[in-house]
């Protein structure tokens, strides 16, 4: 249905996460600069761990664990974004 275009968009996002095990394993720009310029060791661990490194805990296969982490995160982020937008939407009805 045309009305559910956003569902297709969400599906596209979910399909993107299926490819996440193929992502480059190299450190990103900031991490690489931190390594090269000697301040990477300043990094502190988070006070807790839920899905660290985008690897869902308790799943043996790391590729599957990464995909699951991606699916969970994508759906959750969709919910947070949608929910926030819904809460903030203008409720003024156009005249006529």
């Amino acid at each position: 249905m045309k009305n559910r275009w956003w569902l297709i968009g969400l599906l596209i996002a979910l399909v993107v996460t299926l490819f996440s095990p193929l992502a480059s394993p190299h450190p990103d720009g900031l991490e690489r600069v931190a390594e090269d310029k000697g301040f990477l060791e300043r990094a502190q661990d988070a006070p807790y761990e839920l899905i660290p490194d985008y690897v869902f805990p308790g799943i043996a296969n790391e590729n599957v664990a990464t995909i699951v982490a991606g699916l969970v995160g994508t759906l959750l982020t969709f919910g947070v974004g949608y929910g926030l937008a819904w809460a903030l939407r203008r409720r003024v009805r156009a005249a006529g």
Binding site: D28, G29, D53, G81
Partner: protein, 216 residues
């Protein structure tokens, strides 16, 4: 460029939290005044897509990767205020659920990516409209430039914060971060253009949804 905890000193973390909290609060107010019903799912989908795309690191040079920031894209699709909220949602989920980016440093990450990343992309995209117009090729040039500059400026601000925190001298970190993100910005520009191309082909109405609100 998600800064982990430990890179920034307390003063810089607190200061960037104050600024970003203020910026997000203003964004909430503005979005509350202007967001229409059709944009609600667009915000959700944009946030979801940007989250997913941020997982797809691409190699840019020996041993280094980059990933989409998405600030320019969010601004182009939803306007800069809603764009700020979209990236903030992504960063919050990343920090809280995935420990990607520190919690103390989240203020700086929001400032760099959700505020500077979004607004610089928006200003380039909107600013080039008068010069280049709205034909297909112009949209893509504007989108590429917006994507590229948003990444570079966000990275430079992150470098300023790192310098202020004593993590690395400005003379070292600014060129290093600027250089690598000038490359990553090319990826950002290309992905931004690819998404705009796709949307223009299948749902061009999505590209002009916010226009009445933001150009009133």
């Amino acid at each position: 460029m998600h800064i982990p905890d430990g890179f920034l000193d307390t003063a810089t973390s607190v200061a960037s939290w104050v600024v970003s909290a203020g910026g997000v609060a203003v964004a909430v107010r503005q979005v509350n005044k202007t967001l229409n019903e059709r944009q609600v799912p667009l915000m959700g989908v944009s946030a979801a897509f940007i989250f997913a795309a941020q997982m797809m690191n691409f190699t840019i040079a020996g041993g280094t990767s980059g990933h989409l920031l998405g600030g320019a894209l969010a601004a182009i699709l939803l306007g800069p205020w809603a764009g700020t909220l979209v990236i903030t949602c992504v960063l919050a989920v990343q920090a809280l659920l995935f420990q990607d980016g520190g919690l103390l440093a989240l203020g700086a990450n929001i400032l760099n990516m959700a505020l500077v990343g979004v607004w610089s992309g928006w200003l380039v995209y909107a600013g080039l409209k008068r010069l280049l117009g709205e034909k297909s090729w112009a949209i893509f040039v504007r989108g590429f430039a917006a994507g590229w500059l948003s990444v570079v400026l966000a990275a430079l601000l992150a470098s300023v914060e790192l310098g202020l925190s004593g993590a690395s001298p400005w003379g070292v970190v600014l060129p290093a971060m600027g250089g690598v993100h000038a490359l990553i910005g090319i990826g950002e520009g290309l992905i931004t253009v690819a998404v705009l191309t796709f949307l223009r082909a299948v749902r061009p109405d999505l590209l002009t949804m916010h226009r009445l609100a933001s150009e009133a």
